[in-house]
Each structure stands twice: as C-alpha cells, then as structure tokens.
C-alpha cells in the first residue's frame, strides 16, 4: 500500500523532480491525502467536477477520484461514519437526484433514436462527434465492432455527411414553409374554382399570349423528355411559377373575415425562406466557431494533439491497429516535412525568392485564364442552347442540357489542371489545399453566375433591343420568362443528380473491381478511390445555391432537392464503404466546418443578388404568374400596405423611420464594442497566465537549486526543513 501511495503521491504532486526531495514531497502529499480522506473530498486536486457537490453526494465524488478501489471503499466508509445524521434526508434527496438523472438519460436515449442517420454517422467517423459524450453507451457496442472491421474514415469524411444531413433538414423545413403558405392555398383556391384576375394594365394582346400546353397527340418518348427538361406537361403545373394565380381573396361574410393575398404570400414566403436559411447557417457557424475557439484555433500541426489524443483505444484488430499506426506515422512525417520545407523556404536567397514569386504570379494568371475561358464557354453554350431550344427530339434535349454539361465538364477539368499548376507553385501543403479550394469555389459559383447573367441578358434583350419594346422583356422567346428560369434551375439540379449516379455506377464500381481483381502496375498506381471531401462538399454547396436561386421561380424545388440529397446520401455511403479506402491524409474537421458554411453563405449571397434583381428590376410576365398585373414584383408590398389598419401602418412606418433605426444602430454598435473588448481581455489574461506559469516554474527550479546548494553545507538545517 505504501508503494502505491508513493506513486500516487508523486502523480498528484505533478512536479516529479527525481531528486532526494521526494521524501519531502511524499510527506506533504500523504498528509494532504489523509486530510482528504477525513474531510470533504470536494476538490481532490481539482479532479472531481460533479454538479451536486453538496454533503449529501459523497459517493459520486469518490467516483471521480483516482484512488484504487480499496482506498475508495475506505474513504466511503469513513464518510458514512462521519455523516449519519444526514442520512435520512440525504437519501431522499439522493434518490430524487438519481431519478432525475436516470430520466434524463432515458429521454436522451429516446431522442437519439429519432436523430436522422445518427448510427451511420457514428459508423463513418468513429466516435469523433462532438456530442459523443452525450450518447448512451448501450447503443454503441455493435458499431464499435463494425468499426474495427470496416475501418474508420475519420472526422473529415464524417463532417461531409453531417453537412449533407444539415442541408436535407434545411430543405425539408423550407419546403414545409413554402407548401403551407403558397402551395396549399393555391391548390385550395384552384379547386374551389377561383379564376385569375385579368391584367389591369393596358397592354397589347401580344404580351398576354401564353400557351404552354402541348398541342395534339404527343409522342410517347416526349413524356421522358418533358420530365427531364420541365417542359410540356410539366411546365404548366405547380412546379413552376407560371401556374400560380394572382388571386386575392377577401371574404367579408357575417362573422368571419378571411382574406388571403396569394401574390403577397408568394413574395413574402420567398423572403422568409431566405431569411430562415441565413439564420440556420449563422447559428451553425456560431456553434462551429465556438468549438474551434475552445480547441485553440485549430492548429495545423499540433503535434501534442496527434501524439496525446491520436490513439483510438477501442477494440481494434491487429490489422486495424497496424493501419492506424501507419496513419499516425504518415501524418507525423508529413507535418515534420512541411515544417522543414517552411524553414528551408525561409532561408532562400533573394534570387531564388524572386524567381519563386514570379513563377507564382505567372501560374496565378494561367489559372485565372483557365477559369475565364470556362466562363466564356458557359456563356456561349447558354446562348446557343436558348437559341436552339425549339429543336425536337433527343437533339433538342441535348441542346437544353448543354449549359449543365459545360458547367459540369468545366468543374471537373479545371480543378485537375489547377492541381498540376499547384505542383509548380510549390506552396506548403496546407496553403496548397486552401488555394485549390478557393479556386474550385470561385469556379463553381461564378460559373453559375455567368449562366444566370447570360439568361438575363437574353430575357432583357441586351443584344437586340427591338424585341423588348412591346412588353419590357423578350416576349417572343419567353412568353413566361420566370418559368424558363425555373426550368433552367430544375435541369441543373436533375443533371447534377444524374451525373452523380452515373459516376457511381460507371466509374467507381468498375474501378474497384478492376483494382481488386487485376493486379498490374497501372492498377496499383491508380489504386482504389479515395473519398475527397472538399470537392464533394463544393458539389453540395453548388446544388444548394441552384435551389436558392430557383426557389422563387420553381416553388417545389426544395422538395426535389430534399429527395435528391437523400438519394445522394445513400449513394455516397455505398461508395464510401465499398469503393473507397481510408485516406492516409485526413482532412481536418473543425476548421473545415466553418469553411463549408462560409462557402454556403457565399452561395446564399449570390442567390440573394439574383432574387433582388428579379424582384426589383425586371418586369414580371404579363401572361402568367401571381405578379402579372404589377409593374415590379415588389410593388405588391406597398399596395397591400395601404389595406392595413391605421395602427399597424403607423407602427411599421415608425420602424422604418430614422427615429428608430439610428438608435438601434447605435445600441448594436455599443454591444459589439463590448463583446470585442471582452474577447480581447480574455486573450490578454490567458497570455498573462501563461507567462505567470512560466515564471512560477522558473522560481521553483531556482528554489530547488538553492536547496541543493544548501544541503551539503548544513545537515541539521535539512532535518529542520523537513518537519
């Protein structure tokens, strides 16, 4: 027993200086331990942190201590002898607290059942979830053994699937919003038989022509073509803007006053949809940022983290253990190499630096040139496709899908070429990843912007002014231009899904079968596929941006996107488990979550610009849609404003006036300054505490040296000090 106490004493003291002063420290620590046993062990050198640190919960605190079982039992006996009087009342309180804790853990288990795809996510990433400590232990055994068989793909891959799950839920809830306020009232009014109001403006009958229904007999394969391109029977349906009426229902029957303004509902739902998505993204970003800050700024090469926390103590077989060891070895080597490269780069001569920087500038221009070339190709393809949209048959289908095809090809080829360029640029590996990601992001989102810009150019006839004179938009080519834009977004979404499934079936499965069953040098070099997280996440962001852009013109697009993402989840899961090998270099998950959300926000801003432009600048179609009688889409708001009661109107005017907004702005500035000051103070106090610890360590070493110096001089002094 004494040997263990000594060991624990040394561990407790935390400053194991292996000198003769062990006995001194041991004495001190043993006295501390004995006092702990006889007093309230509510600190145990700051190890116990149970919530109820009252005298009625001594056993739980003992659980948090690091004594062996025999010592804990002795301590417990002493405590029980010490507090017999409290026993009766304490036991009732104890039982109540225990019951509450049990109830809470049961509720948590129940709720865990209903979390979407929770088990799959755990299986993919190991137990790297931030919420892992809250999960019930009883549900995990199966997955732990499965983990050892299938291999752990790491936090980066798991963060992709978590992001995908977030987008699925976001889309589904937005669809519920749109369905509740726009779709269901429209269905109800249409079934009741309310006719659309005719256009109030005096405009020529040319502009009012709109005839989307197919004429006469339709060839059978036209059905599939229409399904894929949103024309024909699909065009005049709830899917697109053109089907919705501008019905304004006001009933003033006796007793009930019911009014519903569909155009207003349509516009405000779109606005609230954008606001809701923005709030969700920002809340999630806040959570991720908090995690990143508490884990200390997500060091790229935090060696201590890798070494101290890198090992997974779960039940791994010997093969998985070797794999894990190789993984850690590779990571350490790469990080050390990167550090050496950095040191080497810092020590370059001036001539080398100049050549390196000029090479980088040149490569930057080459990359920019590639991206601009892609944009020109997309613009040309869009124009061509819009001009030849009336060609029938399969060729017509190909022409309508031409912009999607060019965008997908560009998004595939240009990053490959940029990777080759990056090899010449010789950035450090972490900077290379960031630069590649930025390039890919710019490529994807701006190519979508170019597509939309080209479409808008055609609708507003920037090339040929004469087409737009009559109806303020190109009524010859686009009788209902909003539906055309909606169709374009619908096609992009569908094509994205089809390409993913086609890649899965035609490329990934064959590749795995070839690599597994035919071993030659080429297949060894190509190897099994690796799940590349950044490009997959950019695909998700691109899909979501398309949906946001098209939601105003195609209200059912969030629902289609939900279904698409669900299918994508299962496809990616299948390909991950059957075709991919665990990556040697894992993608960091904490900083990447913020990066993904930032890119998503960027896509949101793009979609917002599009929406503002179409609501505020372009004249709505005369022939279709809920805004057919308005000069601009947003004009509905001032008009319905005038129907509001006096009090509400005055209140809203007040909120919009300067008397309210300037004090509000001032107060939010004050709050922001307060939080910034608070954050900087915390940072400074952390730095100060660190310096203090360093000084305390130096003081301790100085004092120990002094003691050592004085020891041979005066032995009797020594004994006096030890008492």
């Amino acid at each position: 027993m004494t040997i263990e106490q000594q060991r624990q004493g040394l561990a407790f003291s935390g400053s194991g200086h292996p000198t003769d002063q062990e006995s001194l420290r041991f004495r001190r620590v043993s006295s501390r331990m004995s006092t702990q046993i006889y007093h309230e062990p509510n600190s145990s050198t700051s190890l116990a942190q149970e919530e109820e640190q009252s005298g009625s919960e001594p056993t739980l605190e003992l659980r948090n201590t690091v004594f062996p079982m025999a010592l804990k039992k002795a301590a417990r006996q002493v405590q029980q002898m010490q507090v017999p009087a409290q026993f009766n009342g304490g036991s009732w309180k104890q039982k109540r607290i225990k019951f509450v804790r049990q109830f809470k853990s049961n509720v948590r288990e129940f709720l865990y059942f209903f979390s979407l795809w929770g088990k799959t996510l755990q299986k993919i990433g190991g137990r790297n979830l931030v919420y892992a400590s809250k999960q019930p232990q009883r549900l995990r055994p199966r997955w732990q053994t499965l983990l050892s068989l299938t291999g752990n793909f790491g936090g980066g891959v798991q963060s992709y699937f978590i992001f995908l799950r977030f987008l699925v839920i976001l889309n589904f809830v937005s669809f519920l919003l749109i369905a509740g306020f726009v779709l269901i009232p429209s269905i109800v009014f249409r079934s009741v038989g309310i006719k659309p109001e005719s256009s109030k403006a005096d405009v020529s009958s040319e502009c009012l022509k709109y005839d989307p229904n197919p004429q006469g007999l339709v060839v059978f394969y036209e059905f599939f073509l229409d399904l894929l391109s949103g024309t024909g029977f699909m065009e005049y349906s709830y899917l697109f803007y053109g089907y919705y009426n501008n019905s304004v229902i006001v009933t003033s029957l006796v007793g009930s006053h019911f009014s519903y303004n569909i155009p207003l509902a349509y516009l405000l739902t779109a606005v609230f949809y954008f606001a809701f998505c923005l709030i969700c993204i920002i809340v999630r970003m806040g959570k991720a940022a908090r995690v990143a800050v508490t884990t200390g700024g997500s060091d790229v090469r935090s060696y201590s983290m890798i070494v101290f926390t890198g090992w997974d103590y779960g039940c791994l077989g010997s093969k998985a253990t070797k794999l894990k060891q190789r993984n850690i070895y590779y990571r350490l080597q790469v990080d050390l190499e990167e550090e050496r490269l950095k040191k080497h780069a810092a020590s370059l001569t001036l001539c080398n630096k100049v050549t390196l920087h000029s090479l980088r500038v040149l490569m930057f221009f080459v990359a920019v040139g590639l991206i601009v070339a892609t944009f020109l190709a997309i613009a040309r393809a869009t124009t061509f496709s819009q001009e030849n949209s009336h060609v029938p048959g399969i060729l017509g289908l190909f022409y309508t899908y031409l912009p999607s095809i060019v965008i997908t090809l560009g998004n595939f080829l240009v990053p490959l070429l940029c990777d080759q360029i990056a090899l010449l640029e010789k950035y450090p590996p972490s900077a290379t990843v960031v630069v590649a990601l930025l390039r890919a992001v710019v490529l994807r989102l701006v190519s979508l912007g170019i597509l939309l810009f080209t479409l808008w150019k055609q609708i507003m006839c920037h090339d040929s002014r004469d087409k737009c004179n009559l109806c303020h938009y190109n009524h010859e080519d686009y009788q209902c231009w909003e539906t055309s834009v909606g169709q374009e977004m619908y096609k992009l979404t569908l094509f994205d899904l089809l390409v993913s499934i086609a890649l899965l079936v035609l490329v990934e499965f064959p590749r795995r079968m070839v690599v597994d069953h035919w071993s030659c040098k080429l297949t060894q070099w190509v190897g099994r596929q690796e799940f590349v997280v950044p490009s997959n996440v950019l695909g998700l962001v691109y899909g979501q941006t398309v949906v946001w852009t098209g939601a105003l013109f195609c209200p059912l697009l969030p629902l289609i996107n939900t279904v698409k993402f669900v299918i994508l989840f299962y496809c990616k899961k299948i390909t991950l488990f059957y075709n991919c090998r665990p990556a040697l270099r894992t993608f960091r998950s904490t900083s990447s979550a913020i990066f993904f959300l930032a890119v998503l926000l960027f896509g949101w801003i793009l979609a917002l610009v599009v929406m503002i432009y179409s609501v505020a600048v372009i004249h709505p179609s005369f022939a279709c849609g809920p805004f057919r009688s308005f000069f601009r889409m947003w004009k509905i708001v001032p008009e319905s404003f005038s129907t509001l009661p006096e009090g509400a109107r005055d209140f809203l005017f007040f909120i919009g006036s300067q008397a309210f907004s300037i004090p509000l702005f001032a107060i939010s500035c004050v709050f922001m300054c307060y939080f910034i000051a608070l954050a900087s103070i915390y940072g400074k106090s952390v730095a100060m505490l660190r310096a203090q610890l360093k000084l305390a360590g130096q003081d301790k070493q100085f004092l120990v040296k002094q003691i050592e110096k004085m020891k041979p001089l005066s032995p009797q002094h020594n004994e006096g000090e030890q008492d």
Partner: protein, 243 residues
C-alpha cells in the same frame, strides 16, 4: 432494491458499493465478473480475492493488439511487486476509467500515467520517445528517424511545456487534452449490451440453472428494476438486429 428470498447481504451490498464507486452499470459489473472468472484457473476461483497474472489479462481480445497493453496493466495493478497482475477490483477500476461515462479528468489522469513509462510523475524525453514509438509501431520501417524524433519531441515540448522545465507534467497534459474534442476515444471496450443479459435472465429463470451465485443474486436484484426499462430493451434489440 427488493431482495427476493433469503440471501446474505454481503455480495449484494458489495456490488451496490462497486456500482456507486465506478462509472459502470450493474450489468456491466456482472459481465465483467464473468469475463474475469473465465481468466482464472479452476482452483483460484474459490480464493476470496483472486489475482490474475498479467499474461492472462493480455489474452483478452480487446487488449491483445493494443500497443499500450502492458502499461495499462501496470498502471491499474495494486500488487506489491508491481508485476501487472489485477484483482477483480483493479479490473473494475480499469473498465471504469475506460468507460464512456468517465469524466475527462479521470481519463486524462490515467492516460498520463499510462504514458509515463518510467513512473516518475512527468513525461520527459524518454517517455515521449517511447510513446511515439508505440504509436507508430515497433517495426523498423515505421519508426521515425532519430532526427525526426528529436524535431517532433522538441515541437511537442514547445507546445505543451508551459513552465519550460523540459517535461510535461499532469496539469500541462490535462491542459492539452482539454482543448481536444477527440479525447472521447479513450474508451477501451464495451461489454455486450443489455439485451443479451435480458435473454440470459429469461433463459436462466426458465431453466433454473444459474452459473454462479453472484450472477443469480444480481439477476434477481434488478428483476424489479428491469420491468420499467423492458420497452427500451426490446426496442434496442429490435433496432440493432434490423441493421
């Protein structure tokens, strides 16, 4: 807790004490006892406080391929000659520290002791070198070169050694750990889930063939407690078999 029939107080009270002094549930303690007795030789089972030698502990599947297996046994062992042998209570301490519900402080404390290969209370250069070698594998082609090792350890000390004394002590180690969200992976193994115990209970109730006196007591002990959570158990069983 209702005790059915006339039994002696001591085993039940011992188990209740153990449950409250560790992070394990009653079922897990029971199953741990079963695994532990499987490791014992026949004649040792009748010993009041049997002690299993380290070689037998290392045959457990969960520990077999763990590079830290010897250190784990040595840390939790309370034997006088520090040979790594474990009593049942040491075994429970081990499981408790590695269980899911153990606090971060407990886990980090024991992790520190496991990494402290020379048991001097700090992680100095030798400890860190042995730690890195365990992590990367002991074979020649997976070891870091001495130059890389030196660079790595100096980086680690730069990051973690706050008072700059050349070693990492417990508080510095805990500081590093607290900033990592990954440390929840410090979990060793999971004993088989509740449902198998439930079927075991039903089976044994039907056939009246209890393997050990202890398990018989424990089954009856929480017979009353299991009825409220019956629904959960059957759901878990169903859900798990579904996949």
């Amino acid at each position: 807790m209702v005790s059915i029939g006339v039994r002696s107080q001591n085993p039940r009270q011992t188990n209740k004490n153990r449950k409250e002094l560790t992070f394990l549930t009653k079922q897990e303690i029971l199953l741990a006892h079963r695994r532990f007795t499987e490791l014992l030789e026949g004649d040792e089972r009748n010993h009041p406080n049997p002690r299993v030698p380290m070689d037998a502990i290392l045959t457990l599947t969960e520990l077999k391929s763990n590079p830290f297996k010897k250190r784990i046994c040595q840390v939790f062992s309370t034997s006088e000659n520090r040979d790594g042998s474990l009593t049942f209570e040491d075994f429970l301490d081990l499981l408790s520290a590695f269980s899911d519900s153990a606090t971060l402080e407990i886990k980090s404390h024991y992790a520190f002791r496991i990494f402290d290969f020379d048991d001097d209370g700090t992680l100095d250069y030798g400890d860190l070198e042995k730690l890195v070698n365990c992590l990367t594998g002991e074979t020649a082609d997976t070891r870091l070169s001495s130059e890389e090792m030196r660079q790595l350890i100096s980086n680690i000390l730069d990051e973690s050694d706050i008072d700059k004394d050349g070693t990492v002590n417990l508080s510095e180690f805990q500081h590093v750990i607290s900033r990592s969200p990954d440390f929840v992976r410090f979990v060793l193994f999971h004993l088989p889930c509740k449902c198998s115990l439930f079927t075991h209970y039903c089976y044994s109730r039907l056939i009246f063939n209890f393997p050990t006196a202890l398990s018989r007591l424990c089954c009856e002990d929480y017979a009353v407690e299991m009825y409220p959570s019956l629904i959960f158990i059957s759901l878990f069983h169903f859900k798990q078999n579904q996949f």
